[in-house]
């Protein structure tokens, strides 16, 4: 391992600018002549718009323009994944207008935009818009929306149903249940979350009359996807006249994947007002307009034989999609959820039904993990419940059912083929690090202090690096899922990498540079990584689903292969040797078995100053682009163990220990990987103990600020103990699997299993997330002082 290559914990190249306040986030950009947009949003969850009168607002000081839905006749925001129901019918796909057309369907639904010289003027003028609302009954829970008589959101979605989807062999599952020795049943809720990256969304639209080119600066995880969706579907702008720039982006966690109304509004309005237009969300707008996550209600049943072997899993889920279809919303509770329900186990038969509902809430889409945390939560909660019912140690029950180490490639009953893994080793590592064996003593000691101590295990698997484009296309994806990289070698041997992935905290500028340093033998200072500008980078799909390294890194490897192959031809010419005899190592092309060599930089120079060059056979230049379409998903997996203590008097949960053992395949920068794991764990623990998006019955988001929505803070979280064990991915050139989402997938189930373990002696059954002090106190009170509950 070189000091800057694969496996080295090198310091991040991007840190300096962030540590000195010199990052460039979208709101930091100020274009000449820039004006400001403010959106008027619905205060009602469901209402007809009888009249929207913008006359007074238009006359307000500093106002340049006001546009309502009737003024902005453009295409709707598109959905990127078509799901078919059980009966073969395509999903209901109602329009998703950029500005409300006659009706609003959630609090925060945009109605009009005011553009003024200053933000304060735009905000003041928005108060002068007169809207005549006819409020309608609202429905906020997915289950309620599907009941007969529920308020109806869209003409195109009868009964508020988007689709009724299924996966797996129902007959095989029914047959397995018929012969089961034991059946465990569980009803659980996967609580709705708000992604809340610390940087609120922002967008600047600009139009250059001389060139006819539009530029959109936006807080996006995938600028080319935004360009494609906005250009082709919403505004009908030719892509060569549309540039999308996603500069430094302050976290995304999924919520910045999607194409949002505000991006289309500032781009469309820029030529109308003849000035660049900036919009930046206030945090309250983030809560009311950023796509939210999770929100499943599930009934699950696990059939076991007399030895505790899993025979079948049956799952029925209602997923809440919110008021409109966000860009990838439809795929999350289906192909990113149902396909993961085999988990790490040999369960031979799995059947899952998912009904997705429209409700008067903010749209729901992918949030860190996206479908896979929901699947993991179902499996790991029911496995733990089964272990408790059968009085088998939960680790032992898992071991009995793990996919054996020699069974790969392993075909699950829910469509996926796992290429590699070793769940026994990560379980053992985590148990050892967590001192699982010593837990009984710690529980006893805690009891003496009046505390209820519990331990919880969760194993998980995820499918990352989505996916062969043809497979995804057959399942309804309306996009390709490859990635691109361009490697531009400069005449004196320094290198710029242009990647189609996007970094919004993951440190690609460092990790990708390490890949180049490792392969080309260059110091990191000679390598720059560029992303986020559609005028610079080749067409790429951005970053989500832990795909950047497995898919984008693989594209970069392919581009480097092309550079090295061309370099060998040039070196053969320079060294007057046969191409087949040229080796490339440590930044030098050499003739095998001799000390004759030329450095990488000399070859690059020859490529651009081709005086002594095989010009008849070879084009000058050393600049290669590669596209990589994955052959399969990658399957990171591992084991998380949580240990918690509950204060009986207050119901407060303290996470006293958290251990993770993860298999991410080959690791490029262990320091960055550790940070990714920690961040995921914090969000997973946040979901389990603190975070909850709560709507009132009439559709007001009660948790609409950081005062009400409880984000984990430094003094809420433990000091994580994390380790990795690698089994290499077998189908990508780096053997990498991805690490961005794992923490958020395993942690909720580990924490809630620990809570259940702590409360089991009191006879308390399953609790739903978040396990707040109130919820736990009430459960304890109901058992110990029934009159108080």
């Amino acid at each position: 391992m070189s000091a800057t290559g694969i496996g080295a914990p090198v310091r991040r190249k991007e840190d300096s600018r962030f540590l000195t306040g010199r990052g460039t986030y979208t709101d930091d950009i100020n274009r000449p002549g820039q004006v400001h947009a403010f959106l008027l949003r619905s205060p009602h969850a469901h209402a007809e718009l009888r009249r929207v009168d913008t006359t007074s607002a238009k006359a307000a000081p500093g106002v340049l323009a006001v546009f309502a839905g009737a003024d902005m006749q453009v295409g709707g925001l598109p959905c990127g994944w078509l799901i078919h129901s059980k009966d073969g019918n395509p999903m209901a796909e109602p329009p998703h207008p950029v500005l409300a057309q006659g009706k609003v369907r959630h609090v925060g639904d945009p109605i009009a935009v005011v553009i003024a010289e200053t933000r304060a003027q735009a905000k003041d003028a928005a108060e002068l818009i007169v809207v005549d609302y006819q409020p309608l009954p609202a429905v906020v829970a997915g289950e309620d929306a599907l009941k007969p008589g529920a308020p109806q959101l869209h003409e195109q979605a009868k009964g508020n149903l988007c689709y009724d989807w299924h996966l797996g062999d129902k007959q095989a599952v029914d047959a397995a249940f018929a012969k089961a020795a034991h059946v465990t049943r569980l009803d659980i809720v996967n609580n709705r979350l708000v992604a809340n990256p610390m940087e609120p969304r922002a967008a600047i639209g600009e139009y250059d009359r001389a060139s006819g080119e539009y530029t959109l600066y936006t807080t996006s995880q995938n600028p080319h996807v935004i360009r494609l969706l906005m250009g082709a579907f919403v505004l009908q702008l030719p892509e060569h006249k549309l540039r999308v720039v996603a500069p430094d982006v302050g976290g995304g966690f999924g919520s910045k994947i999607y194409h949002y109304a505000e991006e289309a509004i500032v781009t469309w309005a820029a030529p109308h007002v003849g000035r660049p237009i900036k919009w930046t969300a206030e945090r309250g707008e983030s809560f009311a307009s950023d796509a939210q996550g999770r929100d499943h209600v599930t009934h699950a049943e696990l059939a076991l034989d007399k030895d505790g072997k899993f025979l079948a899993l049956r799952v029925a889920t209602i997923a809440n999609l919110g008021a409109y279809l966000s860009t990838f919303s439809t795929a999350i509770p289906t192909y990113l959820y149902g396909t993961l329900l085999a988990g790490t186990y040999t369960t031979p038969a799995v059947y899952v039904e998912v009904k997705s509902a429209f409700t008067n809430t903010v749209p729901v889409d992918a949030y860190r993990g996206a479908g896979r945390p929901e699947a993991c939560y179902v499996i790991e909660r029911i496995v733990d419940t089964a272990a408790r019912e059968l009085k088998i140690d939960p680790a032992e029950l898992r071991r009995r059912n793990f996919i054996p180490k020699d069974a790969y490639p392993y075909q699950t009953p829910v469509a996926l083929t796992y290429d590699s893994g070793d769940y026994f080793t990560t379980l053992d590592m985590a148990m050892k690090a967590a001192d699982y064996a010593g837990f009984a003593q710690r529980r006893e000691a805690a009891a003496k202090r009046g505390k209820l101590r519990g331990i919880g295990i969760a194993t998980y698997i995820e499918a990352c690096g989505i996916a062969p484009s043809a497979v995804a296309g057959a399942l309804g994806a309306r996009a390709g899922l490859y990635e691109t990289a361009e490697l531009r070698v400069h005449p004196t041997g320094s290198v710029t990498v242009f990647t189609g992935t996007h970094s919004h905290g993951q440190g690609h500028e460092t990790t990708f540079a390490q890949l180049v340093s490792d392969r080309l033998g260059l110091p990191l200072e000679m390598i720059d990584v560029v992303h986020g500008d559609t005028n610079k980078i080749p067409f790429g799909m951005g970053t989500y689903g832990s795909r950047s390294l497995p898919v984008g890194g693989s594209a970069l490897v392919k581009a480097m292969d092309k550079v090295v192959n061309k370099g060998k031809k040039i070196a053969a010419h320079l060294l007057e040797a046969a191409e087949a005899d040229i080796e490339f190592k440590d930044g030098k092309f050499s003739v095998a078995g001799t000390d004759r060599n030329v450095a990488f930089g000399q070859v690059a120079f020859a490529a651009y100053v081709p005086h002594n060059y095989p010009i008849e056979e070879l084009e000058p230049g050393l600049d290669e682009t590669a596209f990589y379409d994955p052959k399969n998903f990658t399957y990171p997996a591992g084991c998380h163990i949580a240990e918690i203590e509950i204060d009986r008097d207050t119901g407060d949960v303290a996470v006293v220990r958290f251990t993770a053992a993860d298999d991410f395949g080959r690791i490029i920068n262990p320091m960055i990987v550790e940070g990714q794991v920690h961040g995921g764990l914090a969000q997973g623990i946040g979901q389990a103990l603190y975070e909850n998006a709560v709507y009132s019955d009439d559709g007001q988001l009660v948790t609409g600020s950081f005062m009400d929505y409880c984000m984990p803070r430094a003094d809420n979280l433990p000091s994580f103990d994390v380790a990795t064990h690698a089994t290499l991915c077998t189908h990508n050139p780096l053997g990498v699997k991805g690490c961005g989402e794992a923490g958020a997938i395993g942690a909720p189930a580990a924490i809630m299993n620990a809570v259940a373990d702590a409360l089991a002696p009191l006879g308390i059954g399953s609790l739903d997330m978040p396990a707040t002090p109130e919820r736990i106190w009430r459960a304890i009170a109901a058992k110990t002082m029934p009159q108080a509950a």
Binding site: M198, E199, G251
Partner: protein
Amino acid sequence: MSQHEITLTVNGRRHAARVAARLTLVDFLRDELRLTGTHAGCEHGVCGACSVLLDGRPVRSCLIFAVQAEGAAITTVEGLAPEPGALGVLQDSFCEAHGLQCGFCTPGMLIAAEALLRRTLSPSEEEIREAIGGNLCRCTGYKQIVEAIRIAAERLGGANLAPGTDHG
């Protein structure tokens, strides 16, 4: 909207300006002085991204009007480095311990940590977690931030600096 004349010092440099009464300090720093290192994360004083030092004390610049900073000495993240292009001990420790990912909360974290280290160079883990307890980070899970501040305290303590010294 009434306008007010203010004079204040930001990162050692004196500024005189005419500002609207409703203008917050964070908007003044970002929009008028173009010091965009200070970030607005929630505008209601809960996330800490906009933290700056006002006469040495950490404050939320989204909860203070620019007019209230009349006569004050403000330090923003841009004023923490010892010289352009260099990192101070605290900043360097954040880099070493991977105490930042997306970088958006980082200026506020640095300010909170700077204020702590001006108070003590031997903080316990609990004190560190308490000191940054008012600053939200969505990326790191905080462990590596805590480690960064511990490293900085150790280095600054080892350098035998008197309390109250500007650690930059």
